[in-house]
Symmetry: C2
Subunit: 405 residues, 2 copies
């Protein structure tokens, strides 16, 4: 008998009919002789509604209480699915975060899982039950309810799969797998059969919203295979697994783009030790994440330093840098929030040279100017003007041989 953990996202449980559809899928896996543990999100839209309600009370709701409020969403779907399975004559029981012993730190709203004491789940499963766990929620050492942040149900699922030593963690969502590029941008994008944890991590951090980054980190750490698939079809989706010898050996596995960043350049910075820290520390202290940082080679005795921040923090970051520029005697601060980041990702890059050169020449051939570059072991990203983002994705997708026939 295998142990299968299935996670269903908000669109898969959006109403009673869809919950009944999920129940049939769960029952099928159970009928096939598996021990099945199901992790659910809230009905789509519910979490947003609860947040709206909290904001009617106050602009800045107390985080502990917001978590108590938000946890009701997954409690509702867990109870309804268990009820549905029981009405179909299956043994089933819902568990909330604290009942499933999902122990977290007490960082409300973005708590991290410390431990899963899966004893109760295991006892219930051993007694023939289908166990339905409310995702997204846990509790701290003092029994306070915590939530794991947006997409946290993915992490709940992977963590529980780890604790149960499950054979697979199936993530059911409204797309049918991971694609080589966003099919809305690139009609020739192909669904991947397999993708490595490392590649998935890069793609998730680049804005592919299929899996929460932390769930992939978790799965990688404990080597739990994830199967991303749709709850609306029977098709196989994409397996996210450890890099294997038999993996497709393409140099580049996927192309992504994101328009969530803005660029800030501090021009004519005195070329002194510690000057980069002076520019970036105030940004960090304001809680703004910096992604790329590029420093030009000095011209005379000044430098230019450019970096990117989330578009939502752009105005605040510009104000901060205008003050910094005055303090350090820089010449100017320029900003641009009409940029896009285009990236190619692939473990194959490790053993192939010339990927960067090919990327740059492909963009050049389309007349697209590159404003900034950053790289990791398995990723190259370029900042370009945002209106070229879709064109760049299609050109790179084709150049790296990813197009479907």
């Amino acid at each position: 008998m295998g142990v299968i953990v299935q996670k269903y996202g908000g669109t898969s449980v959006a109403d009673i009919d869809r919950i009944k559809n999920v129940a049939r899928r769960v029952a099928k896996a159970h009928d096939e002789g598996n021990a099945v543990v199901v992790i659910l999100s809230a009905m789509s839209g519910v979490t947003d509604n609860l947040i709206r309600m909290a904001h009617q009370v106050t602009e800045d709701p107390a985080r502990r209480e917001l978590d108590v409020l938000l946890a009701t969403g997954e409690q509702t779907t867990a109870a309804l699915l268990a009820m549905t399975l029981i009405s179909m004559n299956y043994r089933a029981e819902s568990l909330l975060g604290h009942q499933a012993e999902v122990l977290t730190d007490c960082d409300y709203g973005r708590a991290r899982i410390l431990d899963i004491g899966a004893d109760r789940i295991r006892r219930l499963v051993d007694a023939g039950n289908i166990v339905v766990v409310a995702g997204f929620q846990g509790c701290d050492l003092n029994g306070n309810i915590t939530t794991l942040g947006r997409g946290g149900s993915d992490t709940s699922a992977v963590a529980i799969a780890t604790a149960l030593k499950a054979d697979v963690c199936e993530i059911y969502t409204d797309v049918d797998g991971i694609y080589t590029a966003d099919p809305n941008i690139c009609p020739k994008a192909r669904k991947m059969k397999k993708v490595s944890f490392e590649e998935m991590l890069e793609m998730a951090s680049l804005g592919a919203k299929v899996l929460q980054i932390r769930s992939v980190e978790f799965a990688k750490k404990y080597n739990v295979p994830i199967h991303v698939r749709s709850s609306f079809t029977e098709e196989e989706g994409t397996m996210v697994v450890n890099e294997e010898a038999d993996m497709e050996r393409l140099v580049v596995s996927g192309v992504t783009s994101s328009k969530n960043e803005a660029r800030i350049a501090v021009k004519g910075v005195p070329d002194q030790p510690g000057i980069a820290a002076k520019i970036l520390t105030p940004i960090a202290e304001a809680g703004i994440n910096v992604d790329m940082i590029v420093q030009s080679s000095p011209t005379g005795d000044t430098n230019d330093l450019a970096f990117t921040v989330p578009k939502t923090d752009y105005k605040r970051a510009m104000e901060i840098e205008r003050n910094v520029a005055r303090d350090i005697g820089a010449q100017d601060v320029r900003g641009d929030d009409s940029i896009a980041k285009v990236s190619v990702v692939g473990v194959g890059m490790k053993s192939h040279s010339g990927v960067a050169a090919k990327m740059f020449s492909t963009l050049a051939a389309e007349g697209i100017n590159i404003r900034m570059i950053s790289t990791s072991e398995i990723r190259i990203s370029c900042i370009i003007t945002d209106k070229y983002a879709e064109l760049a994705v299609r050109a790179l997708h084709s150049a790296f041989g990813l197009n479907s026939e």
Copy 2:
């Protein structure tokens, strides 16, 4: 410093504005130097909506899971009120049933409180917090969520008040107290300043819906004074307390009526020992509550036996009795669901004779026929034709000197 437990019903927390109104009341009691613990119901309508959702899944939802679902209603309001108080710069924390250590049996949907281990509430209160407890819910010894049945938040409040040895348990509702009769029926009804637990119990069981019967039993057992009042005015409401020497010494404290019952009469029953049991056991076995039972004196060698059942069980009870009548050789079964029960209640009855006679003559003077009679130490009830119910209430209210000037 006093300890005050305040319970707010569904209409008092029906939307964010009303929750803010509740927060101001709670804050005021705290500012006056009291330790304040608040128990909340779900927003009005929410519990019914959740039940409807469960019935979309299945006609007969699993009771454990229904409780998990229903408990979200009070979780929502508790989080929102705590959030509101914190936004007003008060220290506040919400607690769910299991966090407030409301230990119950595992009779889902109508669980009984076994114990309140109020340590956590007390610690929080001692640290200067306003504690907001989700009413209606508890948990059993295995940590399963349970609910206490309709109106269960009243019982939560009284039980927590008992555990904290509170000075008073204030029940905020949409009426401003307990009246000598339903003001909708009897315009001359007066709000009572005080009413005894015994009288309140009789009135609640007769259909006065202000307090859940079990909460009154609890308060009586542990002698916790209840103050029933409105959350929409500053007026004093009605105190429900132990019978005191200084209580208003009216013979009758209140007049109630109810149209929730139906009458079944089995005619021409053989006058044999054990025949009443043969008639009523099948009704009990079908889970139907019998209220009044009247057996006429035998005429020749047969008897008539009549009893009342809830109107919702009338058809089922009639079917059962038709079968019983065949088995025992009774002549006929007759039913009537157009009846009403009119009652007068008062601890003063204990020491005054002639109350029954006055009740019967008052009804007779209005030309109202009495079909059945039952009495307790402090109550007399008559079954009459339902169309006369309002007239009967007004006539009795006047005859027993309850009318306001």
